[in-house]
């Protein structure tokens, strides 16, 4: 799956200002829009069967195999205190955790890729409860919708 908008390919060379923009991948969890830096996502996979791990931490939904490699899949919904996912349908974002382990993030739906400049991102100090506060890097507006930028290190820690 090619995540990058093909029409945006030429922009990078044209405008040096554009280089300060970062690409974000947006996704939906419990009907809310979230985003993480695209560069931190390795791959998006779907239709994987999860194997639960008894006694595992509650926010690990299970393990799955992606081309012969095993990885743990985290329940993003639970991390965000938005309830618990039922691992029946959903997509898995593959990302690297801070310790270099490849992890899956279970999300409801993947929306697309957006470019944001630092100026478009507002800080979230005091906006959220402390738990989500540590997970968010800021908030941005995409058209009429608000998107919460998540801090991957916090999410996968």
């Amino acid at each position: 799956m090619n995540l990058r908008d093909p029409s945006s390919a030429g922009h990078e060379t044209r405008l040096s200002l554009m280089s300060t923009r970062r690409e974000y991948l947006t996704f939906v969890v419990a009907e809310e829009l979230y985003a993480v830096p695209l560069a931190s996502i390795v791959e998006i996979v779907a239709g994987k069967k999860l194997t639960p791990v008894p006694r595992g931490p509650s926010d690990v939904l299970g393990i799955c195999s992606v081309r012969g490699e095993l990885m743990s899949v985290l329940d993003v919904r639970r991390r965000l205190r938005r309830g618990t996912s039922q691992p029946q349908r959903g997509r898995i974002l593959l990302a690297f955790s801070p310790v270099g382990e490849k992890l899956g993030l279970w999300v409801d739906e993947v929306r697309g890729v957006h470019r944001l400049t630092p100026g478009e991102i507002e800080p979230t100090i005091g906006t959220f409860s402390s738990e989500i506060g540590t997970l968010s890097e800021g908030i941005a507006r995409l058209g009429s919708q608000l998107v919460v930028l998540l801090n991957l290190a916090g999410l996968t820690a």
Binding site: P52, P54, P57, S65
Partner: protein, 707 residues
């Protein structure tokens, strides 16, 4: 990307590691020989060369702390090999300290700095050299070619002087070598002559017509000329004993005024005329072996990062899944009745399986390394601990060449270190006590390794005082781990097993070395993680023997696949004692535990369904009990169904599942199905811990055995 840098760094580390290991080996050999004064000068020289190469390597890779240390060490070793400094226990201590510092630096990528390094460097420099000996003129009395003397290195001259002082005879031998294999042949000659003499130096003899061969004149110092002659046999085309000029022993070889020297090459030519015909054992010149061939590496080995092998194992895992799919396809075709297709598919699938097995075997084979490295480090641990505690301890190692998976070797170092430290500290008594008990003053620790089927067994045995079970039981009771009645009813084996209990120690106070109560339980846990088991046997005043049984490899294990509800688990076959249908009539409940009574014993049961919270029990079909073992301990795991054996490749559960007890990893079985691999050792430990917790809460006597 920093890939190139990482690669060169990895190269540095692995090369440095080899050199440090070689250095350590040479030092250990020297240490062993020191009390009897039989140190091999060659080992000192080897150690010097190891450090010299390491210094060069450090410079090449810009590893400054490593370079500095090598430099100081090189100086010291140079003084030692030139006899300017006498080798002693104190000097060896500093040399071993330097080896440890090398390891430390290397573990930090070679560039780490350590506070103690400066202190060590100062200590190395402080080992002041003995005043230089008055130069002896012993050489003058010998008919040695001044040309030869002029090319001797300082070390060679030192050895020559020393040999003459010791009254050894000097022999000059001409040997023809094939250029392509010069190195190996030369070292063969050196080691052949070693029992009788020392090859002091060698020089090319020059006048040889064959470009593929090289004649060398070897100068050998020996007390047994005849033996040297015999060893070299027909390989030597000329052999000449160089006598003293004053002596009339061999006047024919010593013209007057020999102090001026005789042209060696001239003499050689003369002698050569007498024995010109090539000896039959001379190597046949190889047509392609031009002089340039020497540059080519003689070694046939490659160094490979273990992670690369792991990647290959990953590919192997994928191929195994494909093999499964191929097999299924073959079955489907059979059901559909396409005869020709079935035949071809079957054939293909069969061939695929066979090749896969070969690939698997080959891959496992290259992962195997000897235990030598680990054992060598243990030698140093014993030495160091012995000195710290002022005890004489002697380590005897057998079976160091036993091979085991590289990944297991890595994990063995800590547990074994713990065991030998314990043996020195708790096992071996101090000299006075040993004297009183009529034991030899020096204690002995024997480390034996051997392969037994699919396992590697490592035994660590000491001749010390044995485990004080009374004090173990007393401590266990005061900590409330066992009840008073249990304590009184405990068999010696049960009491011995208390040593594996977390937090228990026989010592009232901790020493710097061991005895803080974190010990054998950690050893057992770590060994269980590797799929192995630990057993302890001890006899008061006679000694203690700890036996580690380890699988040959963790990369691929044969496992029994079992089902519980929707979940699939794999149980490594090497930890299964027995599998049977569970007869409900034979189950008895004691407290909250289920016990299966059998002909001659009872087996404690654990239902995986309850253990892992896998939903309510089904009714109808009978369950199975899989009896797992860890050393002498047993536990019955109750499962719904069995699904046969399979070779599985165990992958670790990631960091986010690190704390989960009871599993050693997971494995893909095909069609995306993943089986969690059970860790029987951990499950048994768990059952044991529960049992003793219950014992603490109820004072009632129980027949259950402790962990």
């Amino acid at each position: 990307m920093t890939d190139g840098k990482d690669k060169s760094q990895a190269e540095f580390v692995s090369e440095a590691q080899e050199l440090i290991e070689a250095l350590s080996r040479n030092l250990t050999a020297l240490e062993r020989a020191l009390p009897t004064g039989t140190e091999e000068p060659e080992q000192l020289n080897e150690a010097f060369r190891n450090v010299h190469t390491l210094k060069g390597l450090s410079g090449l890779f810009n590893q400054r702390p490593m370079g500095e240390l090598s430099h100081s060490l090189e100086d010291l070793l140079d003084k030692l090999r030139l006899g300017r400094l006498q080798l002693s226990v104190e000097v060896l201590d500093q040399l071993f300290a330097a080896v440890d510092a090398f390891w430390h630096l290397l573990s930090q990528g070679g560039n780490g700095t350590s506070v103690s390094l400066a202190a060590l460097l100062a200590r190395l420099d402080a080992l002041t050299p003995a005043p230089p000996e008055a130069p002896t003129n012993d050489l003058e009395g010998y008919a040695l070619d001044p040309e030869l003397l002029s090319v001797l290195t300082e070390y060679e001259e030192h050895r020559l002087q020393l040999s003459i002082k010791q009254g050894l005879a000097l022999v000059l031998v001409r040997v023809r070598f094939e250029l392509a294999t010069l190195d190996t042949q030369l070292s063969a000659v050196k080691s052949d002559t070693k029992p009788f003499g020392e090859v002091l130096t060698y020089l090319p003899a020059g006048d040889n017509a064959d470009p593929a061969c090289l004649d060398l004149d070897l100068l050998i110092a020996t007390g047994q000329v005849e033996e040297v002659k015999q060893v070299l046999g027909s390989a030597a085309s000329q052999l000449r004993v160089i006598g003293r000029t004053e002596s009339a022993a061999r006047p024919e070889l010593q013209p007057a005024g020999a102090t001026e020297g005789r042209q060696l090459s001239h003499a050689a030519t003369q002698d050569a005329a007498l024995a010109r015909s090539p000896s039959p054992s001379q190597p046949i010149a190889h047509p392609s072996a031009a002089p340039g061939a020497l540059v080519r590496s003689i070694s046939q080995t490659v160094r490979v990062d273990i992670r690369k092998l792991d990647e290959l194992m990953n590919v192997l895992a994928k191929l195994s899944v494909l093999r499964g799919a191929l097999g299924e396809l073959s079955e489907t075709a059979r059901a559909e009745g396409d005869r020709q297709m079935v035949g071809r598919l079957h054939h293909l699938s069969h061939q695929f399986s066979r090749n896969l097995r070969e690939l698997q075997g080959g891959l496992l084979d290259v992962r195997m390394v000897p235990l030598t490295q680990v054992f060598e480090r243990l030698t140093r641990v014993v030495r160091q601990t012995g000195r710290e505690l002022d005890k004489d301890v002697h380590l005897v190692v057998t079976g160091a060449d036993t091979e085991i998976d590289k990944l297991i070797v890595e994990e063995l170092s800590d547990p074994l270190m713990h065991i030998v430290r314990n043996a020195v500290d708790h096992g071996i008594e101090d000299r006075q006590s040993r004297d009183r008990r009529g034991k030899p003053r020096g204690g002995t620790i024997a480390l034996n390794a051997f392969q037994k089927g699919n396992h590697v067994v490592i035994e660590a045995e000491d001749d010390g005082c044995g485990v004080d079970t009374e004090s173990l039981v007393r401590n266990a009771r005061s900590l409330g781990l066992i009840s008073v009645i249990e304590a009184s009813e405990m068999s010696r084996d049960e009491a011995l097993n208390l040593i594996f209990h977390p937090g228990l120690s026989t010592r009232a106070t901790a020493t710097a070395v061991s005895g803080r109560g974190v010990g054998m339980d950690v050893v057992r846990t770590n060994i269980a993680k590797l799929g192995g088991s630990v057993e302890l046997d001890s006899e008061r005043q006679i000694g203690t023997k700890i036996t580690l049984t380890l699988p040959l490899t963790r990369a691929i294990v044969t496992a029994l696949v079992v089902l519980v509800g929707d979940s699939t688990f794999a149980v490594p076959l090497n930890s299964i004692a027995e599998v049977a249908r569970l007869d409900p009539a034979r189950i008895r409940r004691v407290d909250n535990a289920e016990l299966l009574s059998r002909r001659d014993s009872t087996l404690e049961l654990r239902r995986l369904r309850e253990l892992f919270n896998l939903g309510s029990a089904r009714n109808g079909d009978r369950d199975y009990v899989v009896e797992v073992k860890a050393g002498p301990r047993r536990l019955g795991l109750v499962v719904d169904a069995l699904q046969g054996q399979q070779d599985i490749i165990i992958r670790p559960l990631g960091a986010s599942l690190d704390g989960v007890r009871g599993f050693s990893g997971a494995s893909e079985l095909g069609d995306e199905r993943i089986a969690l691999v059970l860790d029987p050792g951990a499950l048994i430990d768990e059952a044991g811990a529960e049992a003793s917790a219950t014992a603490r809460n109820s004072a009632a006597p129980r027949s259950l055995s402790l962990p």
